[in-house]
Symmetry: C2
């Protein structure tokens, strides 16, 4: 069992560099190419993004201008998420929009950076830019952090099976 | 011939209330219900939005959460535009996102307000909110204002045929 799988309660570091941004940093116990694959291959994304819930990937066009759309089926209901890719630079950088069906046309610009953290580990930095401070605060108060830790714990488990 | 059709060179008033917004104000020589229809019925939109160019309306789901997508066919090429509705409040207010295929995932939040300006006229106030000042400046430098005046002149002509 690797350090990552043992450390199931590892938390992401969430900060707010400006009043319209959220920055999330987390180290994963796998090399960058593997983490990139987990973020960009639908078959792998479906295994962790939904935190254990069934995730239907309706659309995933991994190129500049391409669209993506995920539908998560949980006990609480069905939730759709979608967006479009602005930049796809493997294995380092993914820039995309993010929108939840429950708040349509509230669009977040998400920049995901993958850095080599040494010793076969990868640092993932996810920076979200909102149109307004109010939308940013709404996201912080939505239970995002708990959901994120669940997703990332599922990603830890997936990465452990890929090594 | 009405005052609106004679005044073919009428210009919109463009201001920049903040470093991430563009505000456009223009009075039209038609009552609010007619202007609302011209902004929200695909058959009417297709007659003015494209400034005389062929406009294919691929999607137009006029409700909260609905998507829209227009493709303009001009001598310079084919340009796609799309977004999603946040708020649809006839005949007063339409809030939607706006994105041009040429700059994917650069999303503008657009609020269109229709006010009764008296004497059968309507004031349209269009406020665009960008994620960054740089994106706002890019839009200002794109020739937007000339294109807008062409669109609104075409809208004047359409409204004159509706009375």
């Amino acid at each position: 069992m690797s350090a990552a799988t043992k450390d199931a309660t590892r938390k992401a570091t969430v900060t707010t560099p400006t009043d319209r941004t959220i920055r999330i940093e987390r180290v994963f116990d796998a090399p960058r190419d593997q983490v990139w694959r987990a973020f960009t291959e639908p078959g792998l994304l479906a295994q962790w993004w939904g935190r254990g819930n069934k995730l239907v990937i309706e659309r995933f066009e991994l190129e500049r201008g391409g669209h993506w759309r995920f539908v998560e089926h949980s006990a609480e209901g069905v939730h759709g998420f979608e967006g479009r890719f602005r930049e796809v630079t493997p294995p380092a950088r993914l820039v995309q929009t993010f929108e939840w069906d429950g708040m349509p046309a509230h669009v977040v610009l998400e920049t995901i950076e993958l850095e080599d953290a040494g010793e076969g580990r990868t640092r993932v930095i996810n920076t979200s830019l909102f149109h307004t401070p109010e939308e940013r605060d709404g996201m912080l108060q939505s239970g995002m952090e708990g959901g994120l830790d669940q997703s990332y714990a599922a990603l830890d488990r997936l990465l452990a099976t890929m090594t």
